[in-house]
Symmetry: C2
Subunit: 385 residues, 2 copies
């Protein structure tokens, strides 16, 4: 397997982009990644997207976007793994380059959600759960997460306000990110006053939908001297694992077995442990998911994710900074694009381009993208060398 | 890159499977491929599917199907490239094994189309074209192919009945395939009397939709002594290329540039030429596509695809047999599954399991899966050694 490096990144703001089509958003990110890399073309394009078939009446996004950005005749595919579609596209691009099939591959995640009424978006998001045994019962994704959070609070003796630091940290970091959907810090009082969406989840526990695209360009590390100077960002690890699609079928609904499995594989590939990770872009679609992700990935003991947050250890100056550019909570969660935003932001941190929420001296950055209610989890480790 | 072999295949019949869900269909094919391989599990599952998000209200098919067949915690992704989703899933599985990321990968293509009214299916198929510039103008896929066929007939002086042998050959071969949607031979008279769907395309030029699933299991060739005796089926080549998504943007709408590009790459990888191919599973969604595919892949001069058919050279005993198990026309075209049916049937031929339409002594089999109106084309060459 060839060693692979990321040499270009690009992103749009996460927003209500009513003036831009799906292809314009994806194109903006892809062309920015190309420009950032110094290259003018690529052999392959891997597009992560969840819902354009129903929301935008457009499938076949590989060809659709390759054509739009002028990658004429390049290989192009669309990869879908619900909310982990972004990281899945990155992993597919990575395998194409690592295997020697392609020399220059671009991964882009894109989602355009705000053209549809929110009731439709809720139904489309529910296609990530089990259509027969979850969605058709009327259980939305926020409801599934609320079930998990309620049980977690009961088992571990946490109160709602103990989850506030996840949201406060994300918004504080998002305030330094010009691409974030929300760029204002929030107070603990704002969190406490926030209206309940699905008890115990309130509005500030939940990430916002949005429109956006983020892209990265991958090449074999051996090509690097030719095209890039300075720091080299290597893909040190990539691992994916699944769990049951329905929470009801899990032996332990409070443990992200797929996160444990994919992070363990990733640590083994990189030859490091959780103590070596300088920042962790966790999948904080809901605050409970940030807590579970920290625990299953080896950063906190079981049931103690909120303790890390309460102790300030998830801030940019803490032991394991998360949501360093706002996370899903403040940067926003355009579902099929989110995993690519995480990876692009990890590259920014490793390059020292983290702005007001730069993690000083970061060398290893980990990202973890979650599809469904913990049922498809993809972990990457990037290394600045 | 590691050499990869196919050691297990499985398929369902192509039919109106109203009594089986999407996961039951896919599961049947995956479990058959596992049983056929002699293995009991796999590290990864790559699912090709086009329209389940809208037609079945179910996305996240990687996890959904891995969970169903008991591949607990395996990596699992859904790949979409319109009607070439099947071959795209195979190629993704191949890259995962070739790169060394996985040791045992299963690719499955599945589509369940007949639960939806045909007007909805037509709209869903149109999401493979350009939503803004083709589909929203009311141009269906059969209409796009009719435009191409009409121009092709004019340029090359062919009449409608010259396309009959494509359909007759497919149905003759399908009559020997117990998994085919149509298992009755047709006569030239039946073709001539067939009602027009979109002039000049008649009902017997067009492939039928259907429900079905087909799967293959891939391992590194170096593992083979451990798990399989007898003939070894190697993946000798895999290549993908795209073209503009809209026909209107093509310099030459009568030439499948993406087929030319991907077949040339495939020949180079396998170290052979078209003259070495013993059978060619072409993407005969419409008879015109079979002709164009034969030409762009080097089997017939430009404009002369129908000549090959008229001369009987596409039959199992001819120079370049196509649709050897019925093709899209008679085996059926469950869109996201089709590419996997082609590959499974190619393996059958190379194993000598081709039944009444066995191509004697076949050593090299080529498959070509087309997404959109020639806009995403994936070519594989399998080799029996």
């Amino acid at each position: 397997m060839r060693e692979v490096a990321v040499i270009g990144i690009g992103q749009t703001t996460v927003d209500e982009h009513w003036d831009k089509s799906l292809r314009e958003l994806a194109g903006e990110a892809v062309l920015a990644a190309l420009a950032n890399s110094g290259l003018s073309s690529a052999d392959g394009l891997f597009v992560g997207n969840m819902m354009s078939g129903s929301a935008n009446h457009q499938q076949h996004l590989g060809t659709y976007i390759a054509d739009w950005v002028g990658l004429r005749h390049a290989e192009a595919l669309h990869i879908e793994a619900a909310c982990s579609s972004g990281a899945a596209a990155f992993r597919s691009a990575l395998m194409a380059v690592a295997s020697g099939s392609l020399d220059v591959a671009i991964a882009v995640g894109v989602e355009k959600m705000t053209d549809s009424p929110s009731s439709e978006v809720t139904a489309e998001l529910a296609t990530a759960s089990d259509a027969d045994w979850e969605a058709s019962q009327g259980v939305s994704f926020v409801a599934l997460n609320a079930l998990i959070m309620r049980r977690y609070m009961y088992e571990n003796k946490w109160e709602r306000e103990h989850f506030a630091p996840f949201s406060i940290n994300a918004h504080a970091n998002g305030s330094h990110n010009p691409n974030a959907r929300f760029q204002e810090p929030i107070s603990e009082n704002a969190y406490k006053r926030s209206p309940i969406v699905a008890d115990p989840i309130n509005l500030l526990d939940a990430s916002p939908m949005g429109d956006g695209a983020a892209a990265a360009l991958l090449v074999p590390a051996s090509m690097l001297q030719k095209v890039n100077g300075g720091r080299i960002i290597l893909v040190a690890a990539s691992a994916a694992a699944t769990d049951t699609i329905s929470i009801q079928n899990r032996r332990d609904p409070l443990w992200l077995a797929a996160a444990e499995r994919s992070s363990r594989q990733a640590y083994a590939q990189a030859g490091i442990g959780p103590e070596d990770i300088d920042l962790f872009e966790a999948h904080d679609a809901f605050t409970i998911m940030a807590a579970l992700s920290l625990e299953a990935s080896g950063f906190a003991p079981r049931g103690q994710g909120p303790r890390l947050a309460l102790d300030g250890e998830i801030r940019p100056t803490g032991r394991i900074p998360i949501a360093t550019r706002g996370g899903l909570k403040a940067r926003g969660h355009p579902v099929g694009a989110t995993g690519m935003y995480q990876l692009v932001e990890a590259v920014q941190q490793l390059r020292g381009e983290g702005g007001g929420s730069q993690v000083e001296g970061a060398v290893y950055a980990m990202t973890q993208n979650i599809g469904g209610s913990g049922s498809n989890i993809i972990t990457h480790i990037l290394h600045a060398s």
